[in-house]
Symmetry: C2
Subunit: 459 residues, 2 copies
């Protein structure tokens, strides 16, 4: 069967070929990701300590470094069938435009109403909340992709969904807010008068436009103080990478079906949910010594956790209410430049990916904003899809790699993750078209301020 | 093969199964659609009269009532492969929610960056313009779906694309405008200083926010007065319905593959491009007496061309510069209520569909705006997709039909066209959520004003 079939523009698996298990890459890691720590005791968090905040089953998944495959519950499989398989696309038109001998593929996760891969984990987290008999969940959202995905998932399982949306986004991105309302979520601009932490911040800074850190603190407070509620998060956590492995597993099934073997696998990295999901089964083969692949994480030069951050235990949120995680971090006080468009602005990085990067299994590149939008526009014009700014970081490096092949004549097979669409990011595109977009690279002094906030503990 | 396969949530044809011909339903019509008339001579327009405005090959297609199948040129097939097949979806979740014994299917055309089916004809029209050696094309756009589709198509074939966008939309829908700019189109708010007609209107009405009629007139003026340019249109015309037949042909191939036979076929109707495309091959069977289907056109109660219009020769544009067409019309001076959200606001209707409706091959229903948004939200919550307001007219009637089946116990198979997504229509959704959306049904007196402008000719 290998290599004999012509490769179509888009590979859609049959429903019967879809993955039925998630793959837990931790099971194949020799050096496991470091455990979450209780910031008070500096001891690893136990399940019972996490239970007031997270759903039981998700706590189990979070702490489980051993189970290799998790069967995907039927209810989640049924939901996946509404928008999966996502297409694995052969970028014939981009290849032609670039004149490269490289073969370029991308896994496109944007063909659902939430507009990104976030839905893969949102539906899983909503399912476990429902199964536990909860009334609802709380979360925070910045640009709104995660909030949208969670709203859709909660609507499907008839769960209440409270989203704390950073005030500046709430006001500047009314469309995202309305999509969430369409799915029945209650969307609250943060900081708000609905929580103690929100009221305190509003009193201290009456004119604040909010921050992700503050929104997290509000969402957690509401979850722990309302019976029948838990808090859910859309990236960074081990459980999220587990759910997102559906991207990689599906990609691998499709590639195996057509005998395609990628040489390079590229993904954008903010908290790491997409990259971790895409590479999971390929990384598993590398960890087990069965195959070798080159993995490249792409991050914005304005928020360079991997390429310029420290590998250390740090607070996961600016409010310092969450457990501490060992990760590549810029310090929980690091604030990305205001000119930065789109997501990928988290100060830290998934513990799993951090460990893999630290152990040399992955590379990382930092790219500048205007070059990312140039790649986005070039891609949109030949491949038709209008990419999200986040996803376009991966496009930038995929194009760079393909152009290298053009110079060397190598016929590499390049795979990248196209996480979502940019319909709600046209303000950033407008800036780019009007020549008003700028680049920002933090100085060493800028970074030092963030590093100073990393707690001095050595374990 | 019939009826033996389990029906998946989504049917994606293989690349090798995709349609390679468009189907021209006119070939099977006993009563052909009436010809376009020269408004000066009241004689049928000849090819040479249309050639200064439209591309040669498209003129041929426009006038050809006889050729049953048109092979789709390879360059267009290649482009189609980037975003087609579109999925034929079994609405299992909606059926369950409604508790209906009916089987509901929808053909979803929104999975491309233009967000609608318009791209199917845009790429064809751009191709013929390129083949003719033209430099570029001009068009008008209201809400922006057609302009976006044409921008994408022109970018692919490296054609210049000038879009006259109704000024009020240009200002209120900046995101659509930026998508067009991403694809390299020049977007001009209409009325503008770039044309005689625009300057004249601006002088007379300095504060005007524009109209589709004015934008058409500007686009046509630019096309006929610039060597190497032609004008293109996204709906109503016979050529557009021909290209859009790809929707129906693809649907029929997928249904035949799984042994599915629809009883009722439903589509929203503005100018008729989607409905005409979806029903084409099924209507062909009905016209040839091979099979029977129930066809339902759905239009807004605020712009009821079929259900309350006249079947008469009328001007196709408010500027009265275009040929006259025989169609169901509310009069070229009819202006839909300002509270009407989204498209489907054209005063007339495709001549092909008008003839079929007149001859009793089709039914039509008019539905009110708030009930359409109720259906949209209900659909979004269970099927995941956020529908465009236009498409939601079809959803409304599909749900109504399914609920009738619930009462009668009939297990009808219902097929409807889901033309696009509503990402750029969140202002309308917001009004709906806030309870600010109102319904409008024109009185007989309101309609009479439009009818008074229909020319008194009898042919």
């Amino acid at each position: 069967m290998k290599d004999t079939k012509a490769i179509p523009y888009k590979i859609y698996l049959e429903e019967s070929e879809l993955p039925t298990t998630w793959y837990n890459v931790r099971a194949d890691m020799k050096n496991k990701p470091a455990p979450l720590l209780n910031p008070g005791t500096l001891q690893p968090m136990k399940a019972e300590e996490l239970a007031p905040v997270f759903c039981e089953e998700l706590v189990k998944q979070e702490l489980d470094n051993d189970t290799r495959y998790y069967p995907i519950p039927q209810e989640i499989l049924d939901f996946y069938k509404m928008y999966r398989p996502s297409p694995l696309v052969r970028a014939y038109c981009l290849e032609k435009k670039l004149g490269t001998p490289a073969k370029i593929y991308y896994k496109f996760e944007g063909n659902n109403t939430s507009g990104s891969h976030k839905l893969n984990s949102a539906i899983a987290q909503a399912y476990y909340a429902k199964k536990q008999g909860l009334k609802g969940v709380t979360t925070e959202t910045g640009a709104g992709q995660w909030g949208t995905a969670l709203s859709m998932a909660c609507s499907y399982f008839d769960l209440d969904c409270k989203v704390y949306m950073v005030k500046v986004s709430y006001e500047q991105k009314p469309f995202r807010r309305e999509v969430m309302r369409t799915y029945g979520a209650s969307v609250v601009p943060s900081p708000s008068n609905t929580t103690n932490v929100g009221r305190a911040i509003l009193e201290q800074f009456p004119g604040t436009t909010g921050s992700l850190g503050c929104a997290i603190s509000e969402a957690v407070e509401v979850a722990v103080s309302n019976p029948g509620y838990r808090y859910v998060l859309g990236s960074v956590l081990n459980q999220v990478l587990l759910h997102q492995s559906v991207i990689g597993v599906e990609t691998k099934i499709a590639m195996d079906k057509y005998g395609i073997v990628p040489d390079v696998i590229i993904g954008c990295a903010g908290g790491g949910s997409n990259l971790g999901g895409l590479i999971a089964p390929f990384m598993g083969e590398k960890l087990r010594g069965e195959k070798d692949y080159q993995f490249i994480a792409v991050e914005p030069a304005s928020c360079p956790s991997f390429t310029r951050g420290k590998f250390a235990y740090d607070f996961a949120d600016t409010g310092k209410v969450c457990p501490m995680a060992k990760m590549y971090t810029l310090g929980s006080g690091f604030i990305p430049a205001p000119n930065h468009a789109g997501g990928l602005r988290y100060h830290g990085m998934s513990s799993i990916l951090s460990q893999l990067y630290h152990d040399g299994y992955m590379e990382a590149r930092a790219v500048e904003q205007t070059s990312v939008f140039k790649a986005a526009e070039e891609f949109a014009r030949v491949e038709g899809i209008l990419p999200a700014p986040e996803s376009s970081h991966a496009i930038r490096v995929a194009i760079d790699e393909a152009l290298k092949c053009k110079e060397t004549g190598e016929e590499k097979t390049i795979l990248f993750g196209l996480t979502g669409t940019g319909y709600f990011d046209m303000v950033a595109y407008e800036k780019f078209h009007d020549g008003l977009m700028t680049d920002y690279i933090p100085t060493d002094e800028d970074l030092q301020k963030g590093f100073d906030g990393i707690p001095k503990i050595d374990l």
